[in-house]
């Protein structure tokens, strides 16, 4: 086991098969169009699904599953720094989701300030909070003015001042 060179081919192949089956299955279950050849609208999805399943099988056959298990094991045993990097990516993705949820309700400036401030806290640490707050305010206000006033792109305004 220790001599096995790890790679993700097998697992990627498995993903490809699952993706192909799910996508093709959903395409097949779509209602028939009211007019025209009923197969035309799902011809591309079914072809893509078939290619994905075929590619998945080839990846599993050529790569095998054992190197993927070794890769998972290596991933679990990664250094604390790499784990912390992954945690940062997860936290950032979560912050992005919160930002998306707040964006239209709290308005651009408030939601962007909160997002930037929390992002800068993730990347720079809590000790940087004064500068983070300053950068966040300047950025959010400057972008809001630039887009709304100069570029005619309407960003969500302040919630109570429509």
């Amino acid at each position: 086991m220790s001599n096995i060179k790890s790679n993700w081919d097998g697992l990627t192949g498995l993903f490809s098969i699952v993706f192909g089956l799910a996508y093709g299955g959903y395409a097949y279950s779509l209602p028939q169009p009211m007019f025209g050849n009923p197969l035309e609208a799902i011809f591309l999805p079914l072809t893509v699904s078939a290619i994905a399943i075929f590619i998945g099988l080839l990846l599993i056959i050529t790569g095998g599953m054992t190197p993927s298990f070794a890769a998972i094991k290596a991933l679990l045993n990664e250094s604390p720094k790499r784990k912390s990097d992954r945690r940062k990516v997860a936290i950032t993705a979560l912050l992005c989701v919160f930002y998306a949820m707040l964006f239209e309700h709290a308005g651009y400036v408030i939601s962007t300030f909160l997002f930037m401030f929390s992002m800068l806290t993730v990347t720079c640490g809590l000790g940087f909070w004064k500068k983070s707050a300053l950068i966040s305010v300047i950025f959010a206000v400057a972008i809001f003015i630039t887009f709304n006033e100069m570029l005619s792109v309407n960003l969500p305004p302040f919630p109570f001042f429509n």
């Binding site: 395409a27 035309e40 590619i55 990516v89 930037m116 992002m119 990347t123 950025f139 792109v153």
Partner: protein
């Protein structure tokens, strides 16, 4: 003569003070973004896209051209000064550029990089001028079948040229095609893969795909290097120029690499990274001073810089003449054109000559302006390399979101953006190339519609897809682009097999 007069008309557009100003501003912003590690021209053009929304099509494209060429110029600054390429295309500049800076020759390295970029870009712009309209003229003969096959050929070339495993390239293409099928089917009115979400009925904008993969994905991936203290760049220079001997050594590598870079750039999926690496290796083979390569050989910096800029202009050929983007950056530019109601492709030169020729002329102008900006102002511009990535990346993320909102005014696209950003990280981890996915998401819809039109016109006879010489040629390209790498892999495995 026609081409010359059209080009002159283009210059009469590009040389107007307003457009010169846009090229200058776009070029400086592009140079700055190109310099910053991890942010290449595609990310730069994508996040600066909203800046162009209030402009007309010509102004918008010319600004993006300035950003694009500026990013190509800027990409090598960080390669030379801190051994960290701004993007993949500037990688080859680290091989000899950084050793030159280490030997106290940063001024010569910065100067030859700007000069090679100027000459490479100008030669490529000349080739572009000569080729764009004839290629577009050929494309007018394309029917739906040929268009469909053109996109299939572009996809197969991108898959075969993408880094790593070709099978994974095909998987990436499948994901991109799946993205392109989301929304109401234009021909039957059927809702496909919308899952009841109203906003998905109009489909997933490919600009959202590009911003998600390039901006969010790249920032997520860069978190692993956040903790590492960045290298400090030299910011004080003597006169940034080259000696006669430097020029003597560099002129032929520059001139040789430009056409090669242009041709590679015009191939879908190949791009500046491949062009610059190939030209670096070519020069190494041709050079009498092979042993100097990697230790500060000026021709080892001049050749890839020339190729890199020429490739960036070559990538415009398929976008302008055929309506198929040749690179991530041209994909964003194509998206901008579509948003402004202009369809890139063979009819662009007939229907919007001002835009098409103004853009081509702006390539010449942008190269000159950027060389002027990059030589005396290098010391000022590289100070921006001092901005810590810890501050920069949150700004890029926020700009990506605001850019996305400016495109669709829909928060649903934010979630798609986040999913694609995370997908970009996972794909990098699994060694799945992203460029086939992006190209497939862009051309998938058009490819499907062309296929269905061709299928109906031919009374559901698939052999019509092989009737014309153009179709046969495109099919041959498709088959060869898949088979040749396979044959090469099998041959190399047989050669390396122990007896």
């Amino acid at each position: 003569m026609d081409i010359l007069s059209s080009l002159m008309d283009g210059f009469s557009v590009a040389l107007q003070p307003y457009y010169l100003f846009l090229i200058l501003v776009g070029g400086i912003l592009g140079t700055v973004i190109g310099m910053l590690p991890g942010l290449g021209p595609a990310t730069g053009v994508a996040i600066l896209l909203p800046m162009t929304f209030s402009m007309g099509p010509t102004a918008s494209l010319i600004t993006m051209m300035g950003v694009y060429i500026g990013a190509m110029f800027g990409g090598s600054r960080s390669s030379i000064l801190i051994n960290t390429p701004g993007d993949g295309a500037a990688l080859a500049a680290t091989f000899d550029g950084y050793p030159m800076a280490m030997k106290g020759r940063a001024e010569s390295a910065l100067a030859i990089s700007a000069i090679a970029s100027l000459i490479g870009g100008t030669i490529a712009a000349v080739l572009m001028t000569l080729m764009a309209e004839p290629v577009a003229g050929l494309a007018i003969k394309f029917g739906p079948a040929e268009y469909c096959l053109l996109m299939v050929a572009a996809l197969s070339m991108t898959v075969s040229m993408s880094k790593g495993n070709m099978l994974k390239g095909f998987l990436s293409m499948c994901i991109g095609l799946a993205i392109s099928t989301v929304g109401i089917d234009g021909q039957s009115g059927l809702q496909r893969f919308t899952f009841g979400v109203l906003e998905l009925q109009t489909g997933i904008d490919f600009l959202v795909v590009i911003i998600g993969i390039y901006a969010l994905g790249e920032v997520f991936k860069s978190f692993s290097t956040l903790g590492e203290g960045g290298k400090k760049a030299q910011t004080k220079f003597k006169k940034i120029w080259i000696s006669k001997d430097d020029w003597k050594r560099s002129k032929w590598p520059i001139l040789r690499s430009a056409p090669v870079g242009f041709i590679i750039g015009a191939l879908p999926g190949a791009g500046g990274t491949m062009a610059s690496l190939m030209c670096y290796n070519n020069e190494k083979q041709l050079s009498k001073n092979k042993e100097e390569f990697g230790h500060g050989a000026i021709e080892g910096l001049a050749a890839p810089e020339s190729a890199n800029n020429a490739a960036s202009i070559g990538a415009m050929i398929p976008m302008l003449s055929l309506g198929v983007p040749g690179s991530g950056t041209t994909a964003v530019m194509m998206g901008a054109l579509l948003m402004l109601g202009i369809q890139p492709g063979p009819l662009l030169f007939a229907q919007h000559p001002d835009t098409a020729w103004g853009l081509i002329a702006s390539m010449f102008v942008a190269n000159v302006i950027l060389a002027i900006v990059n030589l005396p102002l290098a010391g000022v511009l590289v100070r921006l390399l001092a901005i810590p990535p810890k501050v920069l990346y949150p700004i890029v993320l926020s700009l990506a979101f605001v850019g996305c909102y400016a495109i669709s005014a829909s928060v649903v696209d934010f979630y798609i953006l986040i999913i694609l950003g995370v997908a970009g990280v996972l794909m990098a981890r699994l060694d799945i190339p992203t460029s086939p996915m992006i190209l497939a998401a862009i051309v998938g819809g058009q490819m499907e519609q062309s296929f269905r039109q061709g299928y109906r016109i031919s009374n559901q006879d698939l052999s019509a897809f092989m009737d014309s010489g153009i179709a046969q040629g495109l099919l041959l390209v498709t088959v060869l682009s898949v088979l040749l790498p396979l044959i090469n892999t099998i041959r190399s495995k047989m050669v390396n097999k122990p007896a």
